[in-house]
């Protein structure tokens, strides 16, 4: 049962071959027996889940079920859940029980889905290895059978690892510079970062507000479409969410791909990519040619500046967003503050981890008098150049395809020495966030027994076409069905 997709589980619930209570108990039992190996969950909400499952079965018996009613899933621990601890992977929020639901949380609740718990993540979503979590690193299910403890990627590493280990059939995630796509690639699952503004950020703990976007993780493109149907839409509580009709993302999954124009950004097939990784990506592109796509090389001339622009803009926005954690209204507070300044400075020194502090300090520096123009304004200008690259590319092609990460899942502990080494993990994903376009990671092969992801980048609000392209690929390949041993 735990190997089934959301679509399959939904059909089983509809046919009555299984109840939500049975399904929920099975997944909870799997998490309780298996997750010690992965540490993919921070909080398990067993009692709430069983109550929700019972309510879902009653709704279904009353003929009021929809496709999500009674289907188990998990939330990344960045989405506020009313009455359930929401930590964002930080000591700062280890005791934080939000008095409200994020809009994404409320949407899944309204759909009748059963939340099993909250998944582990890099602290405040800052990281590419899930090693910066206050609640300990997450271990990738891939490679474990060889005794290797590899990272699941980050920051949505808990959601990705839980999916790969078949502990949940679907999980929410967020992506500021690659935090859905890179862990999806490293764990061999399918993830979607929608267009900026497509999914409400209300109640999603902020990292860099002009880049953050909530999205989906599941094993198939079809399940991602089912998730986006629930998540997408205008929200008056998020001033940057977009008031634009939400299509049924499952309706166009079976459209043929004949005539699809695919561009390969030459900057993403550089010497930063190992030849074996490149081969897997090119094999995947060849499958698209067999499905009727035409492929040409294109250029994103400013792609090489994306990481630099991001590491000004994201820390600058983070330094402003994270100023709210002051030990006064909620969250961690230091012991015995001697005055107000001591309360602020010690609460923040003790409550934040090293990577979060580094980024706050860099961001504060980039925004400070004398450096604002040289760093922040300059980065925002480069951001426009990067966006223009994508606008130009989509005049010529419908989609871009590239690798997601320069290498497969790396070993835990090895990248700690220099933060910049870790930042380069996201060289192929970051430009997408700066431009605000949607992108997916789709399982596309293996290198040394470890999953490789294909990145598919779409034009603004082109999620339906992206999901269609990913779904068609998954009809002719089985990379997404391969299980870690």
């Amino acid at each position: 049962m735990h190997n089934k997709s959301v679509a399959e589980l939904s059909r089983d619930l509809e046919s009555g071959s299984v109840s939500s209570v049975e399904l929920t108990r099975e997944f909870l039992n799997r998490i309780k027996t298996e997750d010690a190996k992965y540490n993919s969950f921070i909080t398990l909400t067993e009692d709430e889940a069983m109550a929700d499952a019972k309510a879902a079965d009653e709704l279904r018996a009353a003929g009021k079920a929809n496709v999500w009613t009674g289907v188990p899933f998990a939330h990344k621990d960045i989405f506020c859940t009313n009455g359930v601890t929401t930590t964002c992977g930080s000591k700062m929020l280890a005791n934080f029980v939000p008095p409200y639901d994020a809009t994404v949380t409320a949407n899944f609740r309204a759909a009748g889905a059963v939340c099993l718990g909250k998944t582990n993540m890099d602290e405040f979503a800052m990281g590419s290895s899930n090693e910066s979590s206050f609640f300990g690193p997450v271990t990738n299910p891939w490679g474990l059978s060889n005794g290797e403890k590899r990272v699941p990627g980050g920051s949505s590493g808990g959601s990705a690892a839980a999916l790969a280990a078949r502990l949940v059939p679907a999980a929410t995630a967020t992506d500021t510079g690659g935090s859905i796509r890179q862990p999806a690639a490293l764990c061999g699952i399918t993830g979607l970062k929608p267009t900026y503004g497509r999914v409400s950020r209300h109640g999603m703990i902020a990292f860099a507000s002009s880049l953050d976007q909530g999205g989906s993780m599941a094993r198939t493109a079809e399940d991602n479409a089912l998730m986006l149907n629930v998540m997408a839409g205008f929200d008056p509580k998020d001033a940057t969410s977009v008031d634009r009709a939400v299509p049924d993302y499952t309706a166009t999954l079976n459209e043929p791909l004949k005539g699809l124009r695919v561009g390969l950004p030459k900057e993403y097939f550089s010497d930063q990519l190992s030849p074996v990784m490149e081969q897997q990506v090119r094999n995947a592109v060849a499958e698209y040619e067999k499905l009727g796509a035409t492929v040409k090389e294109i250029s994103l001339p400013h792609a090489n500046l994306a990481v630099a622009a991001y590491y000004v803009i994201a820390p600058a926005e983070a330094s402003a967003n994270l100023s709210r954690f002051d030990g006064v209204r909620y969250g961690y507070r230091c012991e015995d503050p001697k005055d107000l300044n001591d309360l602020y400075t010690r609460t923040r020194a003790e409550g934040f981890g090293d990577e979060v502090k580094r980024r706050i300090l860099v961001g504060t520096f980039a925004l400070s008098a004398g450096y604002f123009d040289a760093y922040f304004l300059k980065a925002q200008k480069v951001r426009r150049l990067i966006q223009q690259d994508f606008i130009n590319a989509f005049k010529e092609v419908d989609m871009l395809m590239s690798p997601v990460s320069p290498s497969p899942a790396f070993l835990q502990g090895i990248e700690h020495s220099d933060p910049v080494t870790m930042y380069l993990e996201d060289i192929f994903t970051i430009a997408v966030n700066l431009a605000g376009v949607p992108a997916m990671s789709v399982p596309a092969g293996f290198v040394d027994g470890l999953p490789v992801g294909l990145q598919i980048i779409g034009n603004y609000f082109g999620e339906a076409r992206l999901l269609n392209a990913a779904h068609q690929f998954q009809q002719v390949t089985d990379w997404h069905q391969t299980l870690p041993q």
């Binding site: 005791n95 934080f96 029980v97 008095p99 900026y196 503004g197 002009s210 008056p236 001033a239 940057t240 977009v242 008031d243 400013h302 090489n304 500046l305 990481v307 630099a308 622009a309 590491y311 100023s323 002051d326 030990g327 006064v328 209204r329 909620y330 507070r333 503050p337 005055d339 107000l340 300044n341 309360l343 602020y344 400075t345 010690r346 923040r348 020194a349 934040f352 502090k357 580094r358 706050i360 300090l361 860099v362 504060t364 520096f365 400070s368 304004l377 300059k378 980065a379 925002q380 200008k381 480069v382 951001r383 426009r384 150049l385 966006q387 220099d418 933060p419 910049v420 431009a435 605000g436």
Partner: protein
């Protein structure tokens, strides 16, 4: 560019994060590396380029001037570290 110890101490004050003497050296190296990475930006010609702060260039949306929130002071203060009579408590500011 490199970042000096004085810069780090100044930024730490601005960010309200206490930084111990021992941490300054590590931060000097880490932040220096990050700023070296960021210095690639200076190579870009942005003479006639306007800054982009938001990918959709959206404008602030307005809503009707009506009260939509209910008073949830008790729920919000229930999770605060220290409150008294509906107020948040901090160390004494005025002697």
């Amino acid at each position: 560019m490199s970042i000096s110890r004085e810069d780090i101490e100044k930024v730490a004050v601005l960010a309200r994060i206490r930084v111990d003497e021992a941490q300054v050296s590590a931060l000097e190296s880490d932040l220096g590396n990050i700023l070296n990475l960021v210095d690639q930006l200076s190579a870009a010609d942005t003479a006639n380029v306007g800054p982009l702060s938001h990918p959709l260039d959206a404008v602030q949306c307005l809503r009707a001037d009506e009260v939509t929130e209910t008073n949830q002071r008790e729920a919000f203060q229930a999770i605060a570290p220290a409150t008294e009579n509906g107020l948040y408590l901090v160390p004494r500011v005025i002697e």
